[in-house]
Symmetry: C2
Subunit: 240 residues, 2 copies
């Protein structure tokens, strides 16, 4: 292993799409709900719409149009809009909306994720570094048995990724210099933002994140310290 | 189990003295260091002095005499003073002081702690709620295999317990109302502060925290929802 990698003490993981399959989980839960309520809905489009509303909602917070708002509340705003757009708003009462909104707390991990994290945990501090709020990430870890050493969230810094305060704040909380921390993500923009703060970066391919038909940029990049196919491959490449 | 207890979703644990044996660990590590360096030191008195410096140091932060300072840095200030007081300052260089200061990251759990936490984790979210900083608590959990769902610390709120911001901030991060959270501690003042914020309280006896000779208030109190002998007894009383 190269010397640069030997310096790494902690791995900070993006979560939605990198650790868990948001799209597949929402589709499955939507279909079950739809069948029970006899709704005809394209749940894949619904899942994609929910996710697509997320970056613009965070941008409203970033621009100061909205005060600091945890992701649970952003997800709920988007959900209410989507239920109206899909013409099924009347089918969901308050308790059902609140429950469906928490599907993000119940997202299922990619098949390699838990085994890979357990292996990586033996050698590194493993932490979330997600825009998801703490309650969401803690619930998800309990449902999915994700063995985090620490649950770190944008919420702790009141800034969303890719704002530098999130990456640098995580290093400070773990008592590490930026080069001792490696960001792990399936999204190159997240990794590039981490690298601008001095962190190292590991790109993990998640070809199915946006569905089997979607085009996704999966190309390994020499500018990242590691490019891996999944968390088992990442563990191998990090000597864990 | 009473209805009030059935509402509890998460347990927030005091750590130093409640989960881990700071005194025993420091004495053992001090004796090893002392033997290697041929120092004659009363390591029990040293451990007690280190702990005794802690509350006054936090008070300096609380009064604004010191800017926000993580406990690692407070411990180091106290350590430097103590080494001088015990006349052994010259025996410790910078690297040795830094290493010894991190004995707080290596504190050993009470014998029932890990088994009790594993049992409680099946039914509740279990989190730290300590004045120790995040890096200290994460390191400690890794050393001692403490299976926390979340590592919450005074550091996240820039207030030390018993300031209400710590208890209320923890509830907010976990998405819970105060009555859904129970503080677990071996110190009645911590529990009373939590109760003033609306949390529930579980008192755990730790008769050896201040050493076999010390007088410690171990009396069960009807004002706490639970009084337990240790974490196994706590799990039993909480139906976990």
């Amino acid at each position: 292993m190269r010397k640069a990698l030997a310096e790494v003490k902690a791995l900070a993981f993006d979560v939605f799409g990198t650790v868990v399959d948001w799209r597949g989980t929402i589709i499955r839960e939507g279909r079950r709900l739809g069948a029970a309520k006899r709704l005809v809905v394209d749940w894949a489009a619904f899942a994609d719409g929910w996710r697509a509303g997320y970056a613009p909602a965070m941008d409203r917070v970033r621009r100061g149009e909205l005060a600091w708002t945890p992701v649970d509340a952003l997800h709920r705003m988007i959900l209410d809009d989507l239920l109206a757009q899909f013409g099924i708003a009347a089918a969901f009462d308050e308790a059902e909306r609140s429950h469906f909104n928490r599907v993000w707390h119940r997202l299922k991990p990619w098949p390699d994720a838990v085994a890979g994290l357990k292996r990586l945990k033996k050698r590194f501090v493993i932490a979330t570094l997600s825009n998801g709020n703490v309650a969401l990430l803690v619930d998800m870890a309990k449902h999915a048995k994700l063995p985090w050493d620490a649950v770190l969230s944008a919420e702790l810094f009141r800034h969303y990724k890719p704002d530098p305060q999130v990456y640098l704040g995580a290093c400070e909380l773990l008592g590490l210099r930026p080069w001792q921390m490696m960001m792990v993500a399936a999204h190159k923009s997240d990794l590039d933002a981490a690298k601008r703060c001095g962190l190292k970066a590991a790109f993990v391919q998640r070809p199915l994140e946006f569905g089997p038909g979607a085009r996704k940029d999966l190309k390994p990049e020499p500018r990242f310290e590691v490019n891996a196919k999944d968390f088992i491959d990442l563990a191998k490449k990090l000597g864990a």
